[in-house]
């Protein structure tokens, strides 16, 4: 029923719709193109204002503000990765179901554990084969890690940053 011109217009309008859809997706995905930018977590936005007393009273010490908040991998297969620390202990190793899953054949499955205590993070070896080293000495017991101090799990070197 429609006239020739309307049909032609609608034909081009459909192609325009198709392409504008493509361009909308391209525009929306533009800022997602960087690789590794999402290698971090987000407690930070909520943590300063949230009320620690309301959560799990007594199980965890409330986090004082000065504790380091980032784990940075400085050397190894995943060098440059930044992991944001919350107020829960995290396990490091080669296993895939833990928080910091390292691509490192020299690391044990569950190699070491970082846990918060007061204003510091403590590093504890979980009986790994190749050991956990802080500044060249092999850990024998849980040790506090200062920000900026390198520690090594397998062949991956990491440090904490504020």
């Amino acid at each position: 029923m429609a006239s020739e011109i309307t049909v032609t217009l609608l034909r081009f309008a459909f192609l325009a719709l198709l392409w504008s859809f493509v361009f909308l997706i391209l525009a929306a995905s533009r800022r997602d193109l960087g690789v590794g930018k999402n290698f971090r977590a987000t407690r930070a936005a909520a943590a300063p204002s949230s009320q620690p007393e309301s959560r799990a009273a007594g199980q965890q010490t409330p986090p004082p503000p000065a504790r380091p908040t980032q784990l940075v991998i400085t050397d190894g297969a995943q060098a440059g990765s930044v992991l944001r620390l919350g107020d829960q202990p995290i396990t490091l190793g080669r296993a895939s179901d833990i928080e910091v899953s390292l691509q490192d054949d020299y690391a044990s499955g569950r190699h070491a554990r970082l846990f918060p205590q007061g204003s510091r993070w403590f590093l504890e070896d979980l009986g790994s084969t190749n050991g956990t080293f802080v500044g060249g000495t092999r850990l024998t017991r849980a040790t506090p890690i200062e920000p900026g101090t390198d520690f090594r799990v397998g062949r991956t070197t990491m440090q904490l940053r504020a």
Binding site: M1, A2, V7, T8, L10, R11, F12, F14, L15, L17, L18, W19, F21, V22, L24, I25, L26, A28, S29, D32, L33, V35, G36, N38, F39, R40, A41, T42, R43, A44, A45, P48, S49, Q59, Q78, V82, L83, R84, L85, G86, Q88, P89, S96, D97, I98, E99, V100, S101, Q103, D105, F115, Q117, S119, F122, E124, R141, A142, T143, P144, E146
Partner: protein, 483 residues
């Protein structure tokens, strides 16, 4: 205040589910828009196919969106809209072809779209962590072999149009090979993520080339034999290319070794020469491909080149901007709603429209590779990369075939061709990619996930261990550090 806090901290990854919803709505709208352009008069007279198609597509898309929101909040927001758009265009073209030919695929395609989308939603719902698929590495190898062998079994196997790749159960036909794509990708990902280092490093080094050991070559040999088996016994060149190509792509992704690619190409060349010389239908396919314009070949009733040449004429008639929905002649092309749907779309939407469709495929594939880059475990990387590679290979084989770049083999265009098994398999692939992209984009600390019960529980047993350690520290490390 809240804004300031956010600015102070690292930028939090956004889930971007609302972007997805908005784009998906546009994608769903493509379906009624196309169907209205195809036949506005019938719609004005109360024809309701468009309503059914839109309802199923929209409902399915909404279901997947909601499941993503609940279970995989950080999944890639662009995969779903692209796939829904492709599915919408496929539904519209199948509906359009039903109008002018005796084909009657529209209704079943709508049903299969619904089934496939529900299946995808179920996969996303239950596959919160794709790493569980690693546990079924060898189960999926067995499943792949069973799926590939099913069509050869005497009672349920079915031969259609010269290829024995269907099974028929209770009057319904199904292509198990489509599902085998997924199970094979899972097996290769599981196998290669474990044996990667061995394959990369073992073996003698001769000059710059590291020769692999025979032991490590064995799986490649098995993959090659399986592909040749598919070619000989099922007479399906497309699937054979797909399976071996998938294995080569994943092997390269895993090892980054050109030696392996070169070896694979030698295997392919050997297989190709053998097939060309000893398998008559392959020989004939290639002859018909090269001599497609010979009248003798063109007019041949069975296995001639009439189909592909008519498809090319269709593309040529479409030109740059196409004939417009409903104005082409896809009825002249055999199987225009399955194997040849790309030429039907090219005829009615033109090069411009076909390019937009290819862009949508490209976007899905790049998002799949993006998920592979972002996820941290090598199994997930290989699986996402492999599933994207399957889609690329399938598109290449189909579109290369209908444009006569390579011999035409009967593979479906993902999400568009009429065919339930293909739709189902490709939607499940999309679901797995979405699940992997969730782990790639999600914040890493486990406590951030919505339900902690699914992740590792630290509050219970681990706590005593920690306190006992802490008591040890407080006694020993008092003087050790300065604050």
């Amino acid at each position: 205040m809240a804004k300031k806090n956010l600015a102070d901290s690292l930028p939090a990854p956004k889930s971007r589910r609302m972007v997805e919803l908005a784009l998906t709505l546009i994608a769903v709208a493509l379906c009624p828009a196309s169907m209205w352009l195809i036949d506005s008069e019938a719609i004005a007279e109360g024809e309701t196919t468009w309503l059914l198609a839109t309802a199923v597509l929209g409902g399915g898309a909404l279901l997947i969106h909601i499941v993503l929101h609940l279970r995989a909040r950080y999944a890639d927001p662009f995969i779903l809209p692209c796939v829904v758009a492709l599915n919408a265009l496929g539904l519209a073209m199948i509906y359009r072809i039903d109008l002018t030919t005796s084909a009657n695929a529209g209704a079943s395609q709508i049903i299969w779209t619904g089934v496939a989308m529900v299946a995808a939603a179920a996969v996303i719902f239950f596959l919160k962590d794709h790493k569980v698929l690693r546990k079924i590495t060898y189960i999926s190898l067995a499943a792949s072999l069973v799926l590939l062998l099913l069509p050869l079994l005497p009672f349920i196997g079915l031969e259609l149009n010269g290829a024995r790749i269907w099974i028929s159960v209770a009057g319904r036909t199904f292509q198990p090979g489509e599902i085998a794509k997924i199970t094979l990708a899972i097996f290769f990902a599981g196998y290669l993520s474990i044996h990667r280092d061995l394959i990369m490093l073992a073996g003698k080094k001769v000059g710059p080339v590291r020769l692999p050991r025979f032991k490590d070559l064995a799986p490649m040999f098995v993959a090659w034999l399986a592909s040749i088996g598919v070619l000989v016994f099922q007479r399906d060149l497309g699937s054979a290319i797909l399976f071996f190509g998938l294995f080569m792509a994943m092997l390269y992704l895993a090892t980054e070794s050109r030696t392996w690619v070169a070896l694979g190409l030698i295997f392919v060349a050997a297989g190709g020469v053998l097939a060309y010389n000893f398998i008559s239908h392959v020989n004939y396919r290639i002859y018909a491909w090269i001599h497609a314009f010979d009248p003798e070949i063109y007019n041949q009733a069975y296995g001639g080149s009439g189909q592909i040449i008519q498809g090319l004429f269709g593309l040529a008639a479409g030109g740059l901007f196409g004939k417009g929905w409903g104005n082409g002649r896809p009825d002249l092309v055999a199987f225009s709603n399955s194997d040849m749907i790309i030429t039907a779309l090219g005829e009615e939407l033109g090069l411009v429209g076909l390019a937009a469709i290819l862009m949508l495929f490209l976007l899905v594939i790049t998002r799949g590779l993006r998920a592979a880059l972002g996820t941290r475990d090598s199994f997930g990387k290989l699986l996402a990369g492999g599933l994207s590679a399957v889609m690329v290979l399938q598109l290449f084989v189909v579109i290369g075939g209908v444009t006569r770049l390579i011999p035409l083999t009967g593979l479906t265009t993902p999400f568009m061709s009429a065919g339930g098994s293909s739709l189902l398999a490709n939607w499940v692939i999309v679901a797995i990619l979405l699940a992997i992209s969730h782990t790639a984009r999600a914040p890493h600390v486990v406590e951030m996930y919505d339900d902690q019960q699914d992740s590792i529980d630290y509050s219970g047993s681990e706590n005593d261990g920690a306190t006992s350690v802490i008591s040890r520290i407080s006694s020993t490390s008092a003087g050790g550090e300065n604050e």
